[in-house]
């Protein structure tokens, strides 16, 4: 109890609170610019934290990262440029709502359920971190292989409207992911002697191209018509939010639980969580037909899921110093510099520090609500711009974002190539989201398959002879069987 009071004393001082608000605004700014990522925002803060005390230093990074991730939803919804692969899972849904004039509603939902998801993940972190970290450490390449398969299955079969088209998109993504040197054997593939191609196809420019450039192309081809719908103003925001919480509490809780569970695993993270949650939501929904056409239900569950995953990624990071993603990796470094060495001892010897860090997690998620709302109100002005003017501006942002991903013109080339690919995919009604997951998960799937084979000298049995792996394999088999069953039943019903 003493430690908790001390923690309050550490956090609730003017310099700390001012730092948090400053870092939050910085995170929002960076995250809202398409192509600039939360990782980039956090890395830029590193030199600054040297001159800060431990608590404001860690607080600045945590707050900045949380804001930047949420802010990635804004260009996704308004301009169809997803900030992260995690928001790519539902960008079509949010953009469809914007086109219907409901930008304020959908972004309001994003900020609300992101914050709630983050809080849920934080609560789990506070109460169960040590035990959960132990569990996460049992995951070896076998288990990661099945997790990756589960994510891909969700994207292709359940999330997509047509499984065959979803599969085509996924396979394009997987093919793209094989380019480069980044494979288990370290052999260059499809590089044609180019140094740039050795790095493979980065998903950020690819994502910007597939979603945003294809949209710019389509709008240009149609002569940049104005949107038919005027943006609807949401009246009393709190009544609106209250209504959403009542209507979507099931989706919210389910998204939180799934996101937290996936986020705890180092390396699996928020991307997979969002896709899996979106798929679960659609599967269990009473109105799956509405998905993909601007339906809030799936957005709520997926956004609740990816923010919960972000918070729970701190579990292995704080308990064992094992980073769950690039952001936690940066913060772990800062923790060491500030003498807050991650590990069980942090919980034992420095409880007031760890409670202070938890408090900051909570504050960061609470800050997200007012600041997020403010940004949404400001960003809405963008949508009043005539589309003939807006499209070139989007193109400029896309180019900046694609360049910034690896500070090279190569990113712009990738973006343009994928823009054309995305245009033709959509003309043929092939969904884009599965392709993105293919690019992100492809290397994880392959690496874990190959390392498992190396460890077992080529015996396939090893994929099911560990208990957790067996359970995951069984879950996957059940999903496949149910998809096949419903496909056949539908076909039989159609022909009868």
């Amino acid at each position: 109890m003493d430690a908790i009071i001390q923690a309050f004393g550490l956090v609730f001082t003017w310099p700390v609170l001012a730092t948090l608000v400053g870092a939050a605004l910085f995170g929002l700014l960076v995250g809202a610019v398409p192509g600039l990522t939360a990782t980039m925002a956090t890395a830029l803060l590193v030199p600054l934290t040297f001159f800060m005390d431990p608590i404001p230093a860690v607080g600045a990074m945590v707050t900045c990262a949380a804001m930047a991730i949420f802010a990635g939803d804004i260009p996704g919804a308004l301009l169809r440029i997803p900030g992260t692969p995690a928001s790519a899972a539902y960008v079509d849904e949010t953009y469809a709502m914007t086109r219907r004039g409901e930008a304020e509603t959908v972004l309001g939902a994003c900020v609300l359920f992101s914050a709630l998801g983050g809080l849920f993940g934080t609560v789990v972190l506070i109460f169960a971190a040590p035990a959960l970290a132990e569990f996460a450490l049992n995951f070896s390449s076998q288990e990661y292989f099945w997790m990756a398969m589960l994510g891909l299955t969700c994207a292709a079969f359940i999330g997509a409207t047509s499984p065959v088209r979803g599969m085509i998109s996924l396979l394009i993504g997987l093919l793209v992911s094989t380019v480069g040197l980044n494979n288990a054997a370290g052999v260059p593939r499809f590089t044609f002697g180019s140094t740039d191609l050795m790095a493979g196809i980065d998903f950020i420019p690819a994502m910007i191209g597939l979603f945003a450039i294809s949209e710019v192309l389509r709008t240009m081809a149609a002569g940049a018509p104005s949107w038919d719908n005027v943006q609807v103003k949401v009246g009393n925001i709190f009544r609106n939010w209250g209504g959403m919480i009542v209507r979507y509490w099931r989706q919210q809780v389910r998204g939180n639980v799934v996101g937290t569970a996936i986020g705890i695993l180092p390396g699996a993270g928020a991307d997979v969580a969002a896709y899996v949650s979106y798929a679960i939501s659609k599967r269990l929904s009473k109105t799956p037909g509405k998905y993909g056409k601007g339906h809030l239900e799936g957005v709520v569950e997926a956004t609740a899921s990816n923010n919960a995953a972000l918070s729970s990624a701190w579990v292995p990071a704080l308990v064992f110093g094992i980073p769950g993603d690039t952001i936690t990796a940066i913060v772990i470094g800062v923790l060491y510099v500030k003498g807050l060495n991650p590990g069980p001892t942090l919980f034992l010897f420095n409880p007031q520090m760890i409670y202070a860090v938890f408090l900051i997690f909570i504050l960061a998620n609470l800050l997200m609500v007012p600041l997020g709302w403010l940004v949404i109100k400001l960003a809405r002005g963008l949508l009043r711009t005539p589309r003939a003017i807006l499209m070139p501006i989007i193109l400029v942002f896309c180019i900046v974002g694609a360049f910034a991903s690896n500070n090279a013109a190569y990113g712009i080339v990738v973006m343009l190539a994928f823009g054309i690919l995305g245009f033709f995919m959509e003309e043929n009604e092939i969904p884009i989201a599965p392709c993105i997951l293919g690019i992100v998960i492809g290397p994880i799937l392959e690496r874990n398959f190959v390392t498992t084979m190396i460890k077992s000298d080529g015996s396939l049995l090893t994929f099911i002879d560990r208990p957790i792996a067996a359970v995951l394999a069984l879950a996957l088999a059940v999903i496949w069987a149910s998809v096949l069953y419903s496909t056949f039943r539908n076909r039989a019903a159609a022909s009868a």
Partner: protein, 324 residues
Amino acid sequence: MIGRTVLAMGAAIAVSALGITAAAAQYPDRPLTLIVPWGAGGGTDATARIIGAGLERELGQPVSVVNRTGGSGVVGHSAIAEAEPDGYTIGIATVEIGMMHWQGLTELTYADYTPLALMNEDAAGVQVLADSEHDTLESLLNAIENSPAGTFRASGTGQGGIWHLALAGLLNDQDIDPTLVPWVPSEGAASGLQDLMAGGVSIVPSSLVEARGLIEAGRVKSLGLMGPERAELFPDVPTLSEAIGSDWQIGAWRGIVGPEGLPDDVATRLMDALEAVYNSEDYQNFMAAQGYGVRWAKGEEFGTFMEQADASLGQTMEAVGLAQ
């Protein structure tokens, strides 16, 4: 303070986007770019950023740290070598520059750079689970020698990475067939350690700082260090010469280089600035707090260091069959 960073970042982005080409009056009269061949979040990135912050103070110009990742470091190292040799683009080179060309991944070698300053080196350690029956390196090596191939598996970097080479080289040095311990490629030390905990592999020959969290949590122990002397971070871990009387040494190093053919006055200015950064309290404290080792060599001396490292890595890679 945050506001200032935003401005500085904005300025840096604007400048790098415009690619200013004005002739240099008094070097440096415009912002510098420091290229990092590895991603944000890694040790090299953190080291580069603290060096960048120090250089900013010494040179009085903004230094924008730019990550050029991918291709196991080939992309970023190429970008440094191909930059204009005017001193406005420098980079942080890592041990991989002495390895990639032996694997046939690139033509680049240490000779394509102007060596400026060696800033850090971390020796490889030999980590096993804390409850492993082997308490000494000798016992572990004996067990490896007298067990069938594949009893022990190791992980910690990709195929042919520095930690792979460290272990293979150690076995080779002890006249043990390196193929007895198959290498399981991983994304890096963190995922290798994760797999060690999950029971997927039994040895992780990473640096001590990378295993620090788990060693301090009492879950992993280090049996030996492949460096000239014990590490300040874990002074209980013996060096190889103390543990088994071997003089095999290997580690990952990081240094600042420029493209080949940097003008002498520019190189001297940079070296002096780097020396001041290296000796600064900020740099020394930062490295000590993170647990990184520091090592200094300047200009020519650094060049000789890279030349020797290159030759010795090449020899080892040849011996264990990793060279092309």
